[in-house]
């Protein structure tokens, strides 16, 4: 347990040190991107990993928040109004998604969320009087909470890190709570949960709302990071990328989506500078993960590490026992 806390403290210190260690602005911005996508993936993971409900429409939720913020800012409102409006828009959209999609589960749930996500994308693309269509909406300034400017790469990174840490803590508290246990129960045995007195639909609904809240927060970070929003951010590929982060890192784990977000963002932005066919590389990495660590990078690495540790401990006493004997003790059993 103390080792765990020490590792956690070290990780947080390392994250704080990023802008000091990396002087190049470009890479600080990549770090900000990783963190904001991690918030998105954490939100999606609540539903996919802990609720067993695979959504292919989550970019619609973060997108609704992004557009609301951009629209309000373009209309001349302040950042507080824009952020509050974005959260409200994100949560309202989530409630609509949940009410329509939770009638189903499994494949049908995926298809309904996919269709809903496409509707939001269609609105962003075609409702030109509000969204400015394909041209998108530009955001002139980033907010300056408590007089601290977020205009620089470092300033924005720090703000994103704070939001990210709050999101991780919120997820940690959520999944270890009684409600989190109830959600995992509805994933594993919905019928039994119902027979035990749980309101399965309502549990899933509130989990969806929490997931949507994190998506909306990620959407707000996204629009401020890019200072621009266009329908591209709401496309099916954006939802699929989020899902890729969750599954490659490890669905149903706290750290998995963060690692998955780092993987996807790095391949997409950094490796793509060296390899033109980075999409191919990302696909190949994903295939390798599915083949060798179907449970995801984080739980997969833990499993391999434990196996190696156990193997090393077994070999040591065995070698010590075999050495003094120095005679063939028979064929080792396969």
């Amino acid at each position: 347990m103390t080792v765990r806390y020490a590792l956690l403290a070290a990780a947080i210190l390392a994250l704080i040190a990023v802008p000091y260690a990396i002087t190049e602005q470009y890479y600080v911005n990549i770090a900000s991107q990783i963190l904001l996508y991690a918030v998105f993936a954490l939100g999606l993971n609540i539903l996919v990993g802990y609720g067993g409900l695979v959504s292919l429409g989550h970019a619609g939720l973060s997108g609704a928040a992004s557009y609301a913020a951009a629209y309000l800012l373009a209309a001349g409102h302040g950042h507080v109004v824009a952020i509050a409006g974005a959260l409200a828009a994100g949560l309202l959209t989530t409630a609509g998604f949940a009410a329509l999609s939770l009638r189903a589960s499994g494949i049908s749930f995926i298809m309904i969320t996919l269709a809903l996500g496409e509707i939001i994308w269609g609105l962003a693309y075609r409702w030109i009087s509000i969204t400015n269509g394909d041209n998108g909406i530009s955001v002139a300034t980033r907010p300056a909470p408590f007089g601290l400017s977020l205009a620089s790469a470092d300033g924005f990174y720090d703000a994103t890190l704070i939001v990210f840490l709050i999101a991780v803590a919120a997820c940690a508290i959520f999944v270890h709570s009684p409600f989190g246990a109830a959600l995992a129960g509805t994933r594993d045995q919905p019928r039994r949960m119902n027979a035990l007195g749980f309101h399965v639909w309502m549990v899933r609904f509130w989990a969806f709302m929490f997931s949507g809240l994190l998506s909306a927060v990620a959407g707000i970070l996204f629009v401020y990071y890019n200072e621009f929003i266009s329908p591209q951010a709401l496309a099916l590929t954006a939802s699929a990328e989020g899902l890729l982060m969750v599954i490659s890192g490890g669905a149903g784990t706290l750290l998995g989506p963060v690692v998955g977000a780092a993987l996807v963002v790095i391949v997409k932005n950094v490796v793509s500078a060296y390899i033109a066919r980075w999409n191919f590389l990302l696909g190949a990495i994903f295939v390798l993960i599915v083949v060798f660590m179907p449970e995801g990078l984080v739980p997969g690495s833990v499993r391999l590490f434990r196996a190696a540790w156990r193997g090393a401990r077994r070999r040591k006493p065995a070698a010590a026992a075999a050495a003094p004997a120095s005679m063939p003790a028979g064929e080792p059993k396969p």
């Binding site: 009684p178 246990a181 594993d188 045995q189 007195g197």
Partner: protein, 245 residues
């Protein structure tokens, strides 16, 4: 007042009548055995009583309260608990956590997204007590996936008992058990206090006969015979159903 009463209950799947005008009443504290050959409609009857299926006609009464239209998730809160014929547990969790989920189902705490579940000492204690009743206290921390079939059966029963039901519905609690395990489960079931009414399904006549006060024989969705143990065993219609004479 009966603990559980079923009145003119009917259910059809398409053209197949699986429950045909079933009537019976179970007194408080009674042990009722519902028997019938495979396909007699026993589990369907349970699903109608617990509300997992909605009847086409008729009503279900729990301590004289009509619960026919009550959603199934509300019935545990009124004191109705059930087990499943096919093990329906949480394989990723420990035995203790399975039992804790059963307790959580009736607790307002289940909506709390802020508290730490593992710090809820009263829940843990109650879950351990429920596991002790079925002789699993020693292995409470073991993952469910690493337990035997017979132990899983006992977890099923522990979870139902943990909810302190007034009416306990057991769907083939002996299914798939070895002779030793059957003996364990039988002594476990006979230790349930009489303030709990027990309704049990079994398709094999001999297995649970000695646990029952009264027996209802179901065949093709209909009640064929109902009476005391001796009456039902002696009835020629019982022989007819089971031996096809």
């Amino acid at each position: 007042m009966s603990a559980l009463a079923v009145k003119n209950l009917s259910k059809s799947f398409g053209g197949l009548r699986v429950t045909a005008n079933v009537n019976f009443a179970v007194e408080p504290g009674e042990r009722r055995l519902i028997i019938g050959p495979n396909g007699a409609g026993k589990t369907t009857l349970f699903n109608l009583i617990t509300g997992e299926l909605t009847p086409d006609a008729g009503s279900v009464l729990l301590f004289d309260r009509d619960i026919t239209r009550l959603p199934s998730r509300n019935r545990p809160h009124l004191g109705m608990a059930r087990t499943y014929q096919i093990i329906t547990l949480f394989p990723r969790d420990t035995i203790l956590r399975n039992a804790m989920l059963a307790l959580l189902g009736l607790s307002p705490l289940r909506w709390n997204p802020f508290a730490a579940l593992h710090r809820q000492q009263h829940l843990r204690d109650a879950a351990r007590a429920a596991l002790a009743r079925v002789g699993l206290a020693e292995m409470a921390e073991r993952p469910l996936a690493e337990t035997s079939y017979g132990e899983k059966r006992r977890v099923e029963i522990a979870m139902a008992l943990a909810q302190q039901p007034r009416v306990l519905l057991l769907d083939e609690p002996f299914a798939g058990l070895s002779i030793d395990e059957r003996r364990d489960v039988r002594s476990l079931l006979s230790s349930i206090p009489r303030d709990v009414t027990v309704v049990m399904i079994e398709h094999d006549m001999d297995t649970a006969l000695d646990l029952a006060d009264r027996i209802t024989l179901l065949h093709f969705g209909e009640v064929v015979v109902e009476g005391t143990r001796a009456e039902v065993v002696a009835d020629p219609r019982t022989r007819e159903v089971y031996l096809g004479e």
